[in-house]
Amino acid sequence: MEATTSPQAVQSGWAAFWKATRRALTGYTARTLLQGLLTIWAVMTFTFVLIRQMPSNPVQIEAERIVREELVSYEEAYSRAASLFDFDPNQPIIEQYVEYLAKLIRLDFGQSITSAGTPVLDQILQYLPWTVFSVGLGLLISFTIGIFVGMAMAYWRGGILDNVVTALASILFGIPNYIIALLIILILGVQLKLFSVAEALGRVDPTIEPGFTPEYIGSVLSHAILPVVTYVSATVGGWILTMKSSTIATLGEEYVTVAQARGLSQWRVLTAYVGRNAMLPLVTRLAISIGFVVGGSVIIEDIYRYRGLGKFLTTAIVARDYTSMQGVFLVIAVSVVVANMLADVLYGALDPRVRVGKEQ
């Protein structure tokens, strides 16, 4: 439906977008940027102090693991763990902080404690794409479904579609995502045996050579089905309901009545006038949600053993790998801040009222 928007509308949309971007790059944005940086710094400092207050430390946790897995005495395990990790429990926290900050300015996230010699940035780059892919895909799908279904429901409100989907959307909206995930595995996988749990877990079939081959991409997609279905079903209800109420509100606006009075076709009114404007608040919300893509999947990734950033973060928390944890928190904070800025810019560019107001 978006594609059918007239070329002029698209063009003017883009032009306005660039204009807003340019404008944003001067005065106003300098301030926003500074604010963003300050927020990121505050979050970084806060989490830095916080995670180091958790009980135990990386060496003790590793020693415990060695004792349990390799059946050696605790003392042997402790000395081994201590020598393997780049971690000095006696270093004052302020010293650690200054060191970390000095590295961070050079965009160096430091090295993982529990996996000495591995840069945290490498770890993040290994896990981030998978999370962005699965959660992002879920977000995109559920946003798209939400827009179209929500609009249709508003248009034919009171009809069968409206009633059925409203009920369905409310149900989906009401159930936490991890509950959906558990139900999928438990009922569809284990009890009904609709799919093999063993094969569905994980990110990709390792026997397939990575590359841009249909097999590899197919495997990546098929392994993403479970998490994506979960993300979609947990969020789509919210999008549908919001889009529906937003469309209803827009349908009551004067310009829609005027457009209808001008004798424009139903379709044109629906797409160019109603859809566009009803989508406004949702697009901003989408931009904000994008910021949370990175950190919003901790439990789901744990259930599906989908090794993304969320699973990595929980592993790091359990192992008390301070530097890795810190890195993930930082990435999430940055993406949230950037997404919020994006939302601001988008809102300015898309809302004709804001646009006109500013140009005058």
Binding site: Q35, P55, S170, G174, I175, I179, L186, I299, D302, T314
Partner: protein
């Protein structure tokens, strides 16, 4: 306030005594139907929460009873606005009656609005179900907390799990305990903590939002910065870290923590609303009259936003439950049994995911949590109608 109090026979007596008040008033006014309903309402709420439930219910039911006779006797077309314009020469008794009637009418209107939206009413019924389950359930089904060794073990089995049977409708858990009893007893603390968290969130958000908007200036900027800061920290991972940091011996503490992390969104909305309300005449007038901040917030701002705030509180409650169960689910917080979240965690770590016999230990709490959250969300639909003056005026 003793939220943990259980339904008790004393409560039943208190409820019955309380119920006599609306009943007697109704019979004297020759309106037996609301009187009987009022009696039952008092009986139940007194049964559930003793004096705490009984006394407020007297007020509510008497109001409803009075509202019937009051309007019937006087002008049936009397509007609320007119009610409030009665001159000041009435006696004290007359004023009380008038006020009660007003309240009663509001209650009746609200309850009709509540029933009107089918989905919303379903949600309401769901919440009532959980209320009954948690308050009265324990009277019928005692908590089965002792591990059962040989006495419930099936022949030759090496674990104590059991599927549903006539004796144990939901089966037995990993320690051979009745799952049904854990469902009945395991929701209360979770729900109470979630509600506490929701209320704390709302209180913080409303106060800070109103303060930020009405005082403005530097305070506004600082509060906004804090809100921004909290919104930028990934909530759930942060909770996981905090869970390791603080030992949650007191559930209330957890609620406070959740509240402290959850207020910014609502606070921003309240702030925006108050900013726009500030422009309106009556608020400006109140400001000019120097009526004080609390007065303006309570009398002028809140009533305008009540629908939004209450619905937001429901979502905060839902979010809090999501977080609590999620934390327990990942094994990140110490916990006490019985608790739905703990059942899910233990079920998972005890292999219930892969054993048909043990599935009930996971499914039961999973469905309970899902149903409760669903009821909450559906209930907001009715709330919208209840609080929407335009919709209610149509009655």
């Amino acid at each position: 306030m003793d939220l943990q109090s259980l339904a008790s026979p004393t409560g039943l007596l208190i409820g019955a005594l309380c119920g006599l008040v609306p009943l007697v008033i109704a019979l004297r006014n020759r309106t037996p139907r609301p009187g009987i309903l009022g009696f039952l309402a008092c009986l139940l709420s007194g049964f559930a929460c003793n004096v705490l439930g009984g006394l407020p219910m007297i007020l509510l039911t008497v109001a409803v009873v009075v509202s019937y006779t009051y309007t019937d006797r006087d002008d049936p077309f009397l509007s609320r606005a007119a009610l409030e314009e009665v001159d000041f020469e009435e006696t004290f008794g007359a004023m009380v009656t008038r006020r009660l009637a007003g309240l009663g009418r509001t209650i009746r209107a609200a309850s009709r609005a509540l029933v009107r939206n089918k989905a919303g009413f379903l949600g309401f019924l769901g919440l009532v179900f959980f209320f009954v389950l948690n308050i009265f359930g324990p009277m019928v089904i005692p908590y089965d907390g002792q591990p059962h060794f040989y006495d419930r073990r099936r022949e030759g089995a090496i674990n104590l799990f059991q599927g549903p049977s006539a004796e144990f409708p939901l089966g037995l858990d990993w320690q051979g305990r009745d799952i049904l009893s854990h469902i009945v007893h395991g929701g209360r603390a979770l729900i109470i903590t979630s509600v506490q968290a929701g209320v704390i969130t709302t209180v913080i958000a409303v106060i800070l939002g109103a303060v930020a908007a009405l005082i403005g200036g530097l305070l506004d900027q600082i509060l906004n910065a804090i809100a921004n800061f909290i919104l930028t920290i990934p909530q759930f991972p942060l909770l996981v870290v905090l869970a390791g940091l603080i030992s949650f011996e007191d559930r209330f503490f957890l609620a406070v923590l959740l509240g402290l992390l959850d207020w910014p969104t609502l606070m921003r909305a309240v702030r925006a609303q108050v900013l726009s309300l500030r422009e309106r005449d009556y608020v400006e007038a109140a400001y000019a009259l120097d009526l004080g901040l609390p007065h303006i917030v309570m009398r002028e701002v809140l009533p305008q936003m009540i629908s939004y705030i209450v619905i937001n509180m429901i979502f905060s409650i839902r979010g809090a439950m999501y977080a609590i169960v999620g934390l327990v689910f990942l094994g990140m917080v110490p916990f006490t049994e019985p608790d739905w979240g703990v059942m899910i965690f233990m079920g998972r770590s005890q292999g219930a995911l892969f054993s048909a016999e043990a599935a009930s230990m996971l499914l039961s709490p999973v469905i309970a949590v899902a149903l409760f959250q669903l009821s909450l969300v559906l209930f907001t639909r009715s709330l919208e109608e209840v609080f929407n003056p335009r919709l209610r005026a149509g009655l």
